[in-house]
Each structure stands twice: as C-alpha cells, then as structure tokens.
Symmetry: C2
C-alpha cells in the first residue's frame, strides 16, 4: 500500500539515469528493448517510450532505428568550456601584467582561454565577479583574495564553486575561513624576517615597520617583522609601526612616517609593505632633507623597478612574477584534471629570496 506519488515513467527514467551515472550501464552498452522494459516494469510500451525520450533529450542515450537504444558516450565537451578566469586585484599596474603573462602562457599551452577580471581589492566586486563566473560555467579559477585579512563575505560563493565542481586556486593569500583550499603564496613571514635580520646585521638599532592591515600578506609581513626583532632580543614598539588599509594607501604610509620623523623619533631603518610604498616614503623623506640610505634605510617587497628614481634600488624580497603565475596555473590544471586528490590541502609556498639594493646603509662602523 505504499503511496508512490512519482509517475511510472519517472521511475523507469530515474532508474536508467542512475544506472548510467553510476556506471552500471556503460557508454556504448545496449539498453533492453522497449518491449522488454515494458514487460519488466509492467507498463505499456508507450510509457517506456516516454521515459526513454526524456533521457534521449537529456543526452544520456541514443535510439537507433532498427538496432536498439544505446547509452551515449558521455560528452564532456558540453560541460567544458575550456575557459578559465584569472581574478586579480589589479591588471595593468605593478607586478600584475607579468603575473598574468605567466598564467596565460601556461594555460594557453594546455588549451585554456583566459578571462581576466579585476576586483580593485573590493570584496563586493569580488562577489559580483564570482557569481558572474559561476553563471558563465568556467572550468577553473585563479583568484587573488581582496582584503584577505578580513573574513570573506563571499564564502557561500566559494561553496557554490565547490558544489559545481569548479576548481579554484588562491594566489598571494587565502581567506581565514578557506585556508585549506589550494593556494600559492610567498613566504611573507620568512621574507619580512630576512629583511629585518638584514637591517639588524647591518647594525640598525631602531627599525620601524609599515604594513597593510587588510590583507593576509600585510599581516604575515608584520608577523615576520616582529619575529625578526624578537629573535634578536629587540623589543617590538607599536609606536613605530604604521598599519594602513587599501583606502588609506595613497597617503597614510607616508604621513605616518613623516609624523615619526618630525616628532623626533630616531628611526634608522624601515621595513615596508612593498617596494611601491618604500619608494613613496623615500621620495617624501628626501623631500624633507633626509638622506636614503645614509640617514634612514628602507626595505620593500617585490623587486619593483621604479621609472622615476633610478639612483635608488630598494633592498627587497624577489617576486618571481611569471614563474609565480605559472605555478598557480599548473596547480589549477592539476585540479581540473583531478590529478591531485579531491579537497586535500595543497599549499605551495615560494621561498623568499633577498635582493640587496643600495637602500640600506652599513651602520656597524
């Protein structure tokens, strides 16, 4: 007396589909004939035909007149668009063109087209882009988190990506909630530690820090800076550490440093968030008559070349740019091809390499 509310044809259709999806019926296999199925399921041939016609329109089977009905070769090309997206905070500035170039080359070799997107470091825009990309049915995604130190408001969207089996790879940082997802990052803690150690080795006594507060990289560089100080027995002084956000980035770092200097702080070195900030600070300090590196040493990140200041080369941590992009692309391709296992933690950390410029003075004498 079981009350089956499903129509008869639906039951047959569902059984067959499940058999195909579970591999019990293999591609190329012949399905039992309509009359056989009708007898087996105790329904009319007409009802069997209804079930089969649905499966045929969905692409599971093909009927061949006079021969029988066969399970179709699973056509993955319908699902695979061979498009992948690269979502970065910026496109045309800084290291990004060459980062994207590295990804492009690798992905292109593997036959993927690259859709570029930029978030301008806005989580809201990131959300909009993710939704759009999910609708576009891409094969995979390389994404640089926006404001990664802030808990992501887009976790549901990343879950959706998981649901739809769209693999993604984080670069430069991850979100605190998504640390177990595949990502490729620089060893930012190690990098900042190396730079701090470098300044200490050169005899610096009072080393300031300027870090970004709303992304993971900034937080880690901050941590590395602290570790560098404390492991040498120096005390961490929050009064000479400036933290800025994306919105402040054009004035706050410089303003804070100038404030210290004008208030008489005896800073002899600054570990900066990146080379761009370092060059800006250099320009501002020189403007105040402070010599770099004779009075204040500067370090940065990303070995950036500056067009308008070629006598100063900031001592920095190398960013491998194209190679970094290539690494990310390779990891994504592995995920697309299911080479690496399902959802295991796949983090690849690029070790930090010091590049010595002429922005740090030797104060041991």
């Amino acid at each position: 007396m079981k009350e089956e509310r499903k129509p008869k044809y639906y039951v047959l259709m569902d059984n067959l589909r499940k058999d195909i999806e579970r591999g019990i019926i293999q591609p190329g296999d012949k399905i039992e004939s309509e009359n056989q199925l009708a007898e087996k399921y105790k329904m009319s041939r007409h009802t069997v035909r209804k079930a089969l016609s649905i499966l045929e329109s969905e692409g599971y089977i093909v009927a061949e007149h006079g021969r029988g009905t066969f399970c179709k070769e699973r056509d993955m090309s319908i699902k695979s668009t061979k498009n992948v997206a690269v979502v970065t905070t910026y496109i045309s500035d800084y290291i990004f063109p060459r980062l994207i170039q590295g990804m492009y080359q690798t992905l292109d070799e593997e036959g993927y087209s690259v859709i570029i997107k930029n978030t301008g470091n806005s989580p809201k825009l990131e959300g909009k882009i993710l939704q759009e990309l999910i609708d576009k049915n891409i094969d995979g995604l390389i994404i640089e988190p926006s404001k990664s130190e802030i808990y992501s408001e887009n976790v549901e969207l990343y879950k959706k990506l998981d649901e739809y089996r769209i693999p993604y790879v984080f670069i430069h940082a991850t979100y605190p909630q998504l640390e177990d997802k595949p990502h490729i990052v620089m060893d930012d803690i190690g990098g900042a530690k190396i730079l701090t150690q470098h300044l200490i080795d050169l005899g610096h006594k009072r080393i300031a820090g300027v870090f970004k507060a709303d992304d993971n990289q900034g937080a880690e560089r901050h941590r590395g800076y602290i570790e560098g100080l404390t492991s040498n027995g120096m005390t961490y002084d929050p009064n000479i550490v400036a933290l800025f956000h994306t919105e402040d980035k054009d004035y706050k770092p410089v303003a804070e440093v100038l404030k210290w200097v004008k208030s008489g702080e005896k800073i002899d070195g600054i570990v900066c968030y990146n080379d761009q900030i370092a060059y800006e600070i250099a320009a501002a300090l020189r403007n105040e008559g402070i010599r770099i590196p004779e009075d204040v040493s500067l370090t940065g990140f990303d070995n950036l070349a500056m067009p308008w200041m070629n006598d100063l080369r900031i001592t920095t941590i190398a960013h491998p740019r194209e190679h970094f992009g290539e690494k990310a692309a390779r990891l994504l391709i592995e995920k697309i091809n299911h080479v690496s296992d399902a959802d295991s933690k796949i983090a690849r950390v690029v070790e930090s390499k010091l590049i010595v410029g002429n922005s740090c003075a030797d104060r041991r004498g």
Copy 2:
C-alpha cells in the same frame, strides 16, 4: 497524390516553430490547446503532444498544467556568451597592459567578460587563435593585426567571422585586404610628419629614419617621415633609413645606426619607429661616446617611460593608451548592438599630439 515523406507531427512542429521564429506567435502568447490543434490539423491529440514536446525540449514553448501552452520568452543568453576577446601582439609589455585595462573597463561596464590572447606578432598563431575563438562562440573581437603590412593569410577566417556575425574591430592597423573593416588607429603618417617637422624647425639638416617594415604603423610612419622631409624641400635618402622586421627588432635598428655613425655619416637626428627603439639607440650611441641630444637628436612614438634611463625623455607622439582601448571597446559594443550600420567603413583615427622631451637639441644657433 503528393508524396509527403515528413511525418505528421513534424509538419505541426515545423509550422509552430516557424511562426515563433517569424514573430507571428509572440513570446507570452498562448498556443491553441492540444485538442484544438488536433482538430485543426486532423490528427490525434497524441500526435499533437509529440510535436509540442519536441518544441518544449528545444525551449520554444512551455506547457503549464491546467492553463495552457505558451510561447517562451526568447532566451538570447543561449546564443550570447557575453564573452569578447582581445587579441594583441603582446600582453605584459610596453603599452599593452594599459591598453587592455582601458578595454577591460569599458567592456566590463557593459557586462562583457574579456578573454585575452596574444599573437607574439605571428600570423600563424593569429590564425590558430581566430579559429579557436570562432569555435568558442564569442560575441565580438578586438584584434591588433600581426605583421599587418604583409597580406594576411587569415582572410578566410575573417570572412568566417562575418558569416557567423561576430563583429570585430582592428586596432593600431588593418590588413591591406580588410581596410573597409572597422578599425581604430593612430594618425601615424601625421605623427611622423610632426616629428620630422619638429626636428627641421630646430635646425636639423640630416635626419635619419628607423622603421618597422612588416606592420602598417611602420609603413605609415615611414611615409609621414618622407612627407615631412619633402614638404620642406629636403631630399629623402634611403641610405640613412633602416627598415627592420619583427624578427630583427632586437639588434637590427641599433646595428644599422651604429654602422652609419661608424662609416662617418653626419646624422644629427633620427625619427624612430617607437620610444623603445629610440631608447635602445640612445643607449648604444652613448656607449660610443655620442651625446644625446647634443650630437644626435632622437624622436619616438608612444610616450613610453623607461625605468633605466630617467635623465632622457624622448620627444614623442602621445599614445592615449586607456582612452585608445576604451574607444576600441566602444566601437565593438556599437557593432555588437548593431548601432552602426552593417558593414560600412567605420574608421576612427586618433590625432597625433607631440610631447616634447629633452632628446632633441636646438641646432639653429
């Protein structure tokens, strides 16, 4: 006794589909009921249902239980992928990141995703990319021709784009066979003429030229240089004009200029294909002890900033970069939306603007 080989249900299906496609049945309209159609076409209701079920699976109609069957809102998103491609010779170098940025911003605003591709200035690769993009069913294409002065081997592919109604916009140059297609170019003839005139006005007597021979821009700049000379009564001397190809670009321009200088040519100014070439020549000449601009003046194109030579600013013709990209994107969007008429000649030329640097000496004294 007409022999109709088409099944009855097929006739009904075909009629309805054509009515929908021709707009006789509008989206939202109610289709006659199954019984009405059966009577009208003198077939059983069962046969009518077969016809309707096919149309439903194809997305033309929707049946609503108890209410009727309705013509579906035409789902254009099936055809429109909202993807457009930007195909340039390079991606990460020179002016291209900012050019692409300009296109990206405009296309993004209009809801299009941007697929980037680069040809490395190889017509063969361009062909491969075009074929791939046609298969990908993109909505439109912005393309910088590769070796545009050589007749394109890919004309059939551009014809295919026309067939499939995929609009495309050329930037920087067109192919000789495709000059009537929409394109956005710099006024290269005018630009070279302005630069030549500038040197003449400053009292230069023997002005050399270094141009690319395998792209349209190079050929036009070459022409503008000639016009600039002859319109001032000066003679064009092929002995002090170097033409190079993409493959030669890294050594030939510099080598030719050095050959002239070493053979005792009394050159006092050079109109260069672009700033990159100009800076390379500047570095090579300085290496030989020749002063810029005191001994030789240099001009270029594209107002490029050079990281490693900040005391020299080449006098150049401005390239609007983002604005140029934006213009191209707007033209493409017009073509996609059929705002501008079918295949009319839509060429937009960006006028040349001189930017005076410090690479040209005043020799009037």
